[in-house]
Amino acid sequence: MEETQKLRVNGVEREVRADPATPLLYILRNDLGLKGTRFGCGEGHCGACTVLMDGKPLQSCDTPLWSAVGHAITTVEGLSQNGAPHPIQQAFLGEQAAQCGYCINGIMMSAVALLERNPDPSEAQIAAALERNLCRCGTHVRILRAIARAAQMLRKGRGGS
């Protein structure tokens, strides 16, 4: 049965009225209008729906709404700061690391989580962080390059080497 729930998404407290068992994906897309998180399989296999929960990547298609309550959710729309694209978005655009682009937002969310815990990942570590993301157009080589580029941008931005 529908209940009113409070959800913290992209730093903003939002109220939604829905069945608590509703997959978080549909809440984000249909109730909050955050369409950058995509439906791919509904089974947590492909990663197109990846968002961050308290900074950790999560497949929103098989995460019920109730389990997201009380946690900080970040979607691709929450990446930009003061209207400027996030370094990960800049890096993907800079490398033109997309073909159809459908899988990319989920991949960028996985990458943001990786770079948060490992600012200087090896290519193997980047690939491992994308274990739960699929791309069908075959853009993998560019995607790996874009994430390495974003890591470098973020390290510079933080004053690191």
Binding site: A18, D19, A21, T22, P23, Y26, R29, N30, G33, L34, K35, G36, R38, F39, G40, C41, G42, E43, H45, C46, A48, V76, E77, L79, S80, P85, Q89, F92, L93, Q96, A98, Q99, C100, G101, Y102, C103, I104, N105, M108, A124, I126, A127, A128, L130, E131, N133, L134, C135, R136, C137, G138, T139, H140, V141, R142, I143, L144
Partner: protein, 709 residues
């Protein structure tokens, strides 16, 4: 490319859409609306064709507004398919823009009272350099009518003058896609409901009983439409539609048949199905002497399985039925064909239906996009509100058409000098194209399932020179005697249609694997063996370029586990040339370390976009070649999830190096499909090089490799 085009040889898109105002309009806000029938499928075509338009008009790219695949506005350019968008769509746009520019230059010369040769166009401003004598496209637009037919008489710019074409311009569509709503999936119309369709469990299943009341009683359900074997539903909220679909599955009982092939091994059943044989290509020995009798005869049989499109996003469409008019938003490859088919099924005049293209997830051929559009149209009419229908992952795997399986038998004779003197290529396959509008009848799923059903149209494959199953079956090598035969199998145990490359992937895999087998029989180096049979200079050039690119890397004949292989093809025998070298290592499975490719696509419009297409083609082909095959039991398809149909993952992707051989001034050739066949062969040849075993049945799985050893 810089010469005027006589009307008789105008590209097809201009013959069918000659009016200039169908393609272009100058707007009061100093922008230009450009209309194309070629749509974005993730291949970057909108950016490339925009570059062509900006180049010929001398207008900056950011003034161009794009309308593509909209039946109410765009030219009908058939399908966006077959690597034809640059070759036909791009050329058409180039000729239109060149002619429009010339009309405006003539008008400017008249109004400004100067000679046309004195005028120069700079970002749409037409003037005499060094003076303030000027006007613009937008100032002149009210007095220059584009309500006239293209003649092809205006010569496009010579390649040497290009400043926008040939540059790696960033994609126009990516910033939106990488930040929020961008696809048909993301549309949200006022009052919109969410639709789902319960598909039969198998191709031939029939609905025996369905408890519609049980589904109607669920929260949020607004419509349950049952017609024959078609069951569709709409609900207020998406999760309610998902739950209603699960309930509908329980509420349905189906009568099923056990009529699928008893084995998943293509080589064990495909060539035993009834087939119609025809010889599709013959080249007799030219009486030049020199060719003796074959000393060595080699034969081999290759196969490729049924393959899934497996786009990351399952198909989706939005439809609205209002005041007797239907509008459908779709990621279709052919808006006009889809419009005609939907209008026919719904009994509406074509003029009362519009199909508007919206971008979708990666499209590699005829997937579920058209089918879900009819689903949405039927449900929108039934419930009277706009409907968004989203296919499930399992819908996409089991109901979107798959790429046809193939068997190829090759036979060749070598003379004493190690020269191939005769060559036979025989194919067993189904049609490779069964799109809506391709042949008679309705090629849309819901139309076959509803009551009364539209009959499934008989299959019709596409003949050479482009070919369906026969695509790339004619050897590119200079063999003196050649024969190609096609055993066309009308029966289709699985639903099949166009998948990237059609038959080219299977044929090139077979031909190029066999070339290595022949080279081995002739004790020749595989590259040298190819070159000795190849006089086409552009073919030789890509093989030589890829060999050179790979020369610095670890090469052939590793220590028993490493190997290198080459594959070559010219897509459709008339499009881009591509040669691929793969370096692999065989452990428990094949690890692909490096791939090199050399490509000749004539004049390159956007080098980075082209590289992206080649890289993607290589990676997708590695996935097909090492991993993919649709599986079934006697009753239904078993490939329903990503666990049942694994594709290449990030830790399995090689480093890729692409060499582009640019030919400014030559016609631009499509590249979306040229790398697949050469990649498959390069991998199989690398495997043979590494382990000395030849695997001729795809995919090259550990099980098949073990069996071959």
């Amino acid at each position: 490319m810089s010469a005027a085009v006589p009307p008789a040889s105008l590209p097809l898109s201009l013959k069918t859409n000659p009016r200039l105002d169908r393609w272009l309009r100058f707007n009061a806000d100093r922008t230009v609306t450009v209309r194309s029938g070629k749509v974005e499928l993730g291949q970057g075509i909108v950016t490339a064709i925009a570059q062509i338009a900006a180049e010929e008009l001398d207008v900056s790219l950011d003034r161009l507004q794009w309308v593509a695949g909209d039946t109410s506005a765009s030219p009908d350019e058939w399908y966006t398919a077959g690597s034809q968008s640059i070759e036909v769509g791009g050329l058409s746009m180039r000729l239109v823009c060149a002619e429009v520019r010339q009309l405006f230059l003539q008008a400017a010369a008249r109004e400004l009272e100067v000679a046309i040769e004195e005028l120069q166009v700079t970002d749409g401003v037409i003037g005499v350099p060094g003076t303030d004598v000027r006007t613009s496209y937008w100032d002149l637009a009210p007095r220059v009518s584009l309500a006239r037919d293209v003649t092809g008489a205006a010569p496009p710019k010579p390649a040497a003058a290009h400043t926008v074409v040939g540059r790696s311009v960033p994609r126009r569509d990516l910033a939106a896609k990488l930040s929020g709503a961008a696809y048909v999936h993301d549309m949200d119309l006022p009052g919109m409901v969410h639709g789902r369709v319960l598909r039969p469990p198998s191709m031939t299943a029939r609905l025996e009983k369905f408890d519609a009341a049980a589904v109607r009683a669920l929260p949020g359900v607004v419509t349950v439409l049952v017609s024959g074997n078609f069951v569709g539903l709409c609900a207020e909220r998406e999760e309610q539609a998902v739950r209603a679909l699960a309930a509908a599955e329980r509420a349905a009982s189906w009568q099923t048949k056990t009529d699928l092939p008893a084995t998943n091994e293509i080589g064990e059943f495909l060539d035993k199905l009834p087939a119609t044989r025809s010889v599709v290509h013959v080249k007799e020995k030219e009486d030049t002497g020199g060719e003796g009798t074959a000393l060595t005869r080699i034969e081999a049989r290759y196969s490729k399985p049924y393959l899934a499109h497996a786009s990351i996003g399952p198909s989706c469409a939005v439809a609205r039925f209002e005041d007797g008019r239907l509008t459908v938003w779709s990621h279709t490859q052919g808006s006009f064909h889809l419009r005609a088919q939907i209008a026919h099924v719904l009994g509406l005049p074509v003029a009362d239906v519009d199909v508007i293209h919206r971008d979708g997830p990666g499209c590699y051929g005829h997937n579920g996009a058209d089918d879900v559009a009819l689903d949405a149209a039927l449900l929108a009419r039934a419930c009277g509100r706009p409907v968004r229908v989203q296919w499930t992952r399992a819908d996409e795997f089991t109901w979107s058409p798959c790429g046809s399986a193939m068997i190829v038998r090759l036979s060749a004779g070598l003379d004493a000098g190690g020269q191939v003197i005769d060559w036979r290529h025989e194919i067993w396959s189904h049609t490779h194209i069964k799109r809506p509008g391709w042949a008679d009848g309705i090629n849309l799923l819901a139309a076959w399932h509803m009551d009364p059903p539209h009959p499934v149209p008989p299959p019709k494959d596409t003949p050479l020179p482009t070919g369906g199953a026969t695509r790339n079956s004619v050897p590119l090598y200079d063999f003196p005697r050649q024969e190609v035969a096609y055993n066309f199998i009308a029966e289709m145990p699985l639903r099949v249609s166009a998948l990237r490359t059609l038959g080219a992937y299977g044929n090139i895999f077979a031909i190029e694997s066999f070339m290595d087998e022949l080279a081995a029989a002739a004790s020749a180096d595989p590259v040298e063996f190819r070159l000795r049979h190849l006089s086409d200079p552009r073919a030789r050039a890509v093989i030589e370029a890829v060999t050179k690119a790979a020369a610095g890397s670890t090469g052939r004949d590793g220590p028993g586990t490493r190997g290198r292989g080459i594959g070559f093809g010219r897509y459709k025998n008339m499009s881009a040339w591509c040669a691929v070298v793969a370096d692999i290592e065989v452990a428990e499975k094949i690890l692909v370390h490096r791939v090199f490719a050399a490509v000749d696509a004539g004049e390159v419009v956007n080098p980075d976009g082209l590289r992206n297409q080649i890289e993607g083609g290589i990676v997708q082909a590695i996935s097909w070649t090492l991993k993919e095959a649709i599986r079934w039991d006697r009753e239904r398809l078993l490939s329903r999830t990503w666990e049942d149909y694994p594709i290449l993952k990030f830790d399995e992707v090689p480093a890729i190096e692409v060499v582009l051989l640019d030919h400014p001034g030559e016609p631009g050739l499509g590249v979306g499909e040229c790398a697949a066949g050469p990649t498959a062969a390069a991998l199989a040849n690398a495997l043979a090089n590494a382990l000395g075993v030849r695997v001729r049945d795809l995919p090259l799985t550990p099980e098949r490799i073990a069996a071959a050893m």
